[in-house]
Structures are given as C-alpha cells and as structure tokens.
C-alpha cells in the first residue's frame, strides 16, 4: 500500500514540475539549440560525403602544395565537430543547468509534500 502512494506522490511531483514555467522554458531552450545545430551538422557532413562522390574535380583542386580541397574539407569536419561540442557544453552549462537544477529541487520538494 505504502509503495502505491509513493508512486502517486512521485507522479504528482513530476506533473507539478512539468507544469512549471521554468520547465517549459528549459524545454524551449534545449530544442531551440539542438534542432538547428543537428540539422546544420548533418547537412554539413552529408555535403562532404556528397562532394566526395559527385564533386571530385572541386575536391581535387590543390590549395597549398600537396594539400587539396578534399583534405581541407575533411579537416574542417573535425574543426566543426570540436567547435559544436565546445559551444554546446558552454550553452548547457550556462543556460540549461541552472534551470534544470532549480527544477530538480522543486521535484524533491513536491515529492516530500
């Protein structure tokens, strides 16, 4: 019996957090960041794959010495991956974590009530 009420209390606490304005804001911030960035890096990566298949003259163009466009394009995939990982980390630390920990505390309070 006591376990049953425990579950109910948890469900009520989750519902309370879900209704909170902060949670809707957290969700909005998260989605507004990850959706455009995911689309961007997928398009960027698939463009690279497609150029390897269908733009070989462009890719074979030499830029400096023996270094050609293909190699630079490939290395830029590394640069963009490192950069997005860094930018996301900073964004999450600053814009997501404070809201999340506040809501986490709210959940704990609600569950005790």
């Amino acid at each position: 019996m006591s376990e049953e009420t425990g579950h109910e209390r948890e469900a009520r606490a989750y519902e309370a957090v879900h209704e909170a304005a902060d949670f809707q804001e957290l969700k909005r911030r998260y989605k507004n960041f990850v959706v455009p960035w995911t689309v961007a890096f997928m398009v960027w990566y698939l463009a690279y794959v497609a150029c390897n298949n269908w733009a070989r003259d462009f890719m074979s163009h030499q830029v400096v010495g023996h270094i050609n466009v293909a190699l630079i394009f490939g290395l830029l995939q590394f640069v963009s991956t490192f950069a997005i990982a860094f930018v996301y980390g900073r964004f999450a630390n600053r814009k997501l974590d404070p809201l999340a920990s506040g809501l986490n505390a709210k959940y704990k309070r609600e569950r005790r009530r």
């Binding site: 879900h18 995911t38 010495g65 023996h66 590394f78 980390g89």
Partner: protein, 551 residues
C-alpha cells in the same frame, strides 16, 4: 597463460621475447585492475554501472577506449596507407557521429535509464515486449561487433607475433576470450572501465609518439609528407584525391552515401557506448564524458592521418608488400619499426613491440566492453524483467542473484563468441562492424529518439522500429554482395545477392523510423503517452534520476 604464445617459428627471437613480455605486462596490469575492482562490486549498480562514480574525464577516456577498436587503430591507418585519402573517410563519420550522442542522447539517457538501453524505453512502455526487443538488438549488435573483433584479434596477434599456424591463431582467440570473460565476470563495469582507461592512455601515448617521429622525418611539414606519400604510392596526386576506394560507379557512390549515414547515425545507438553513460553521477558528467571522448577520438583520428600517410611515404606498399598482404593492418606496426630506426635496430624492435602491445590492449578493452553489454542486457532485461517478472511465487530476484546471472551470462556469451570466432577465421567478416553500425542506426536510434521526443510514441511503435530496423539491416546484408556473388564475399561459389549495396543503411535507417511511426499508429496502449511528461521531466532535469552509489 603465456605458454600459448611461446612456440613461435619464424620471427627473430629478440623481438619476440620483447613483444611477449610487453603482452604479458598488459595482461598482468589488467588482471590486477580486475582483481582490485572485484572487491568493490557489491550491488547491481556497482556491477552494471561501476557505482555511477566515474568522473566525466575518466568516463571520457573509457568511452574513447571502448570506441577505438583495433579496427580503427590498425585498420584506418592501413586503409590510408593503401588507398590514401579515401582511407580517411571512415574516421570522419565515426567522429561527427559523436555530435548526435552529445546533443540528443547522452544526457537524456543518463537521466532516464538505469543499466541498459532497454531501461530507457521501459520507462513508459510495456516492460516485456520492449525489453525483449531491445535486448535482442543489443545482443545481436554486440555479438556482431564482438565476432569481428575476435576474428581480427586472432589474425592480428598472429601477424604481430609472426604466427602462421591456424591452431595457434585459434589459441590466441581462446586466450583473448578467456581474458575478457575474467575481466567481465570478476571486475564488472568498474574493472572493465579501468581496463578501457588504461588502454586509451596507452593508445594515445603510443600513437602520439609514432606521429611525432613520422612528422620529424618530414620537418613537420604536412605538404611534404603528403607529397612523399603520393610519390611513393606510385599513384601520384590521385592518392590524395577521392575515388581510389569508394564510389567508382553510381552503385558505389550510393553505397558510400549509405555507409556515411550508418556511421554518423550508428554511434549513438551502439549499446556498449550507451551503457557507458550510466557510469557517471549525473547528466553534467555525461556531457563532459562525450566532450572528452570527442577530443580524444578526434585527435586520435588526426594522428592516424600522419600514421597512414607516413606508412605510404616510408614503407613499401606495393602489390606484393607485407602491408598490402595484411590488407593494411600491419602498416602502423611496421611504420613504428621504421621510424624507430629500421628492422635491425634496437629502437625499431622496441617501438614495434610497444605498438603491438598497444594493439593487444586495444582488442582486450573493446571485447570486454561488448561482453559486459550483452551480459547486462541478458541478465537485467531478459532474466529479471521478462523471464522472472511474473514469477511472483518465487519472490523478486535479489540483487545478488541478478549479478550471478549476469556473470554466468558473460561466461556463456564469451564461450559462444569463442566458438563462433574460431570457425569464422577463414571467412571475410570485416563487414560485421559496418553491419553493427547499420543495425544500431536502424533499430536502436529511431526507438531512442522517438521515445525521448515524440509524445505519441508507444510500445508497438518501439517494437516495430526495433525489430523492423534489425531485420531489414540483417536481411539486406545477407542478400548483398558482401555475403555472396563476388570473389571477396563471405561465401564464395554461390550467388544469391539481389541487393546491390554492401551497406544497408540508406534503406534500413529510414525504414526503422517509418516502422516506428506505423507501429505507433497501429498500437493502442495509453500508458506510454500518459507517462511521457514524467519521462521528459526526468530526462531534461534529472529529477528522480539514479544517483551515484554510496559506500
């Protein structure tokens, strides 16, 4: 244990002794770690998730150690040595893929799951059907990957030690299998994680050293290195341009696109990677883990460029060369010998032995991670929550009992892997790694993403997408040229291939997503939707998430 490796015929005795003593050192260190970790395994959270007490940096190293298989260490640099620029393409998909894990999966999974991939789905779905489905795809993906690694281990260690006899290669497979069973049964997640951390440090250090020595030979001028590689390869500038390996005709080009999709979408659905996110205390450390992993894996792949082009520039890679004979796998090792001072020098012998030992450690860490993943899923998903879930007469399964089942499962899975890997030695099964990525992207990723981001998603949607993605990827590969119809196929002398591509991703990934949608609209369970709010609160805020174990 070293007795298996001693009777060697044709290699020089000095090098042999050095290599074997380094191999023995790797084995001794990892066994010590396992013994040490075993004393701290008390609860299921210890056994499956290392007590959730690893830091972001530690787990990042372990993730990198789990991900960078011998195939990527020796394989990618070997492919670059033989095919130039095209050999580099695999690593880019492997790296970019981590952004999917970072942005969409790692933190949310950490907050909403416990021990396995299935936990996260079972949060709001009917336990038995989704756990059975998720456990099936977990075990299939892990066994494919494991088989590829173990067969690779047999030929690799054989190559590194100069062993030619089939019996001794089988002995190596048995040895690797026995070690991985010991790590997993005794050390659990804590032992396995430390083995992976040690391996990642060894691999990064070894690769950095060889990279430095290669670049030193070319005055740290990349263009000079590339020019020498192009000239020595005999292929000229074409060696630095796309087209030597992939996309020779339209089918090949679509095949390459298909491979690219599976690589970039597969990583975030690989069960042995997913369960690594449970070993940290919170979502913030899960994020740090992936950032560390991206930094380490990215730097490593950049170094394989120097290794691969260095091998092309400094070694003989012609048709009858040792490098070409091993399909590129010996390129890094022979390169180490060369930059150390050449075949007859002490420096060369030391570096060769060192890199061979690093490769051996690499194999051990990856196979241990895979065995643990399948054993966890068997014990936690199938045994506890499916087979015994309604067995109330016998009472609930105790934690102690669950760990015992996981240990037996690890022994069983290890034995099956050894049993399959020995006869598979003569087959060309390198495609199994790409297939594991395709299944992960087609079966696991759609279910994970729909579960997190689509309220309407339900049990039948999950079951449809997992079985649909799994079956379509496997069936398409069975009827593709990698299994039959070509001289390079796994089965020669038969032709039942009707699917033209070697990589099923371009068909099976959209199909996995589509079936998830179809299944959802055909299903009728209401609870999945009702608990979506709970899941999204928990995933985004960490409210009610599993905390670190307290000892």
């Amino acid at each position: 244990m070293t007795t298996l490796l001693i009777p060697l015929a044709d290699a020089e005795p000095g090098n042999q002794a050095l290599t074997i003593s380094l191999f023995t050192a790797v084995v001794a260190v990892t066994l010590y770690i396992t013994w040490w970790a075993s004393r701290q395994n008390k609860t299921t959270a210890d056994y499956y998730a290392g007590g959730r007490s690893f830091s972001g940096a530690q787990n990042g190293l372990a993730v990198a150690g789990d991900y960078m298989s011998a195939a990527s260490f020796l394989g990618i640099s070997g492919q670059i040595a033989l095919y130039g620029y095209d050999g580099f393409l695999y690593s880019i998909g492997f790296l970019v893929a981590w952004l999917v894990a970072l942005l969409l999966v790692a933190e949310l999974l950490r907050n909403s799951g416990r021990f396995t991939m299935a936990d996260q789905l079972a949060f709001r779905m009917k336990q038995r059907p989704v756990r059975t489905a998720a456990a099936s795809s977990t075990i299939v993906v892990s066994i494919f990957y494991l088989l590829a690694q173990m067969v690779g281990a047999g030929s690799l260690v054989g190559l590194l030690l100069g062993v030619k006899s089939e019996g001794l290669k089988a002995g190596v497979i048995v040895l690797v299998g026995a070690l991985m069973i010991i790590y997993v049964t005794i050390g659990g997640m804590k032992g396995t994680t430390w083995v992976q951390i040690v391996k990642a440090v060894l691999l990064m250090t070894g690769t950095l050293l060889i990279t430095f020595l290669v670049l030193l030979k070319f005055d740290f001028n990349p263009s000079k290195l590339l020019g020498a590689a192009a000239a020595n390869s005999g292929k000229g500038e074409a060696f630095l341009q796309p087209g030597l390996l992939y996309g020779k005709d339209l089918t090949g080009q679509i095949d390459f696109l298909s491979l690219g999709l599976a690589l970039v979408l597969g990583t975030a659905g690989l069960p042995h990677i997913l369960i690594r996110f449970y070993t940290v205390p919170d979502s913030r450390s899960a994020r740090r883990s992936v950032q560390w992993a991206i930094g380490l894996i990215g730097s490593f792949y950049l170094m394989t460029l120097a290794l691969g082009f260095g091998a092309a520039a400094l070694l003989d890679t012609g048709k009858d060369s040792a490098v070409a004979g091993s399909k590129g796998n010996t390129a890094s090792v022979l390169l180490a010998e060369m930059v150390g001072g050449g075949p007859d020098s002490l420096g060369g012998a030391i570096l060769l032995a060192l890199i061979a030992a690093v490769a051996f450690a690499t194999i051990l860490a990856v196979v241990a991670g895979l065995t643990l993943t399948s054993a966890s899923s068997f014990a936690h998903d199938l045994y506890v929550n499916v087979l015994r879930s309604e067995d109330s007469a016998k009472g609930k399964v105790t934690e102690k009992n669950e760990i015992r089942v996981a240990r037996f499962a690890a022994i069983g899975i290890g034995a099956v892997a050894i049993g399959l890997a020995i006869p598979a030695q003569k087959l060309n099964i390198a495609f199994l790694v790409a297939l594991a990525f395709a299944v992960a992207a087609s079966a696991n990723l759609p279910a994970l993403l729909f579960n997190l981001f689509w309220r309407r998603f339900n049990t039948s949607g999950a079951v449809w997408s997992i079985y649909g993605g799994l079956t379509s990827a496997v069936v398409l590969v069975i009827f593709s040229p990698v299994v039959s119809g070509k001289p390079t196929s796994m089965i020669t002398g038969a032709d039942f291939a009707w699917f033209p591509l070697s990589n099923p991703g371009i068909v099976s990934i959209p199909l996995g997503f589509l079936l998830g949608v179809v299944g959802t609209y055909l299903g009728r369970d209401k609870t999945s939707t009702a608990r979506y709010n709970e899941l999204s609160v928990r995933a985004l805020t960490g409210a009610g998430a599993e905390g670190p174990a307290k000892h």
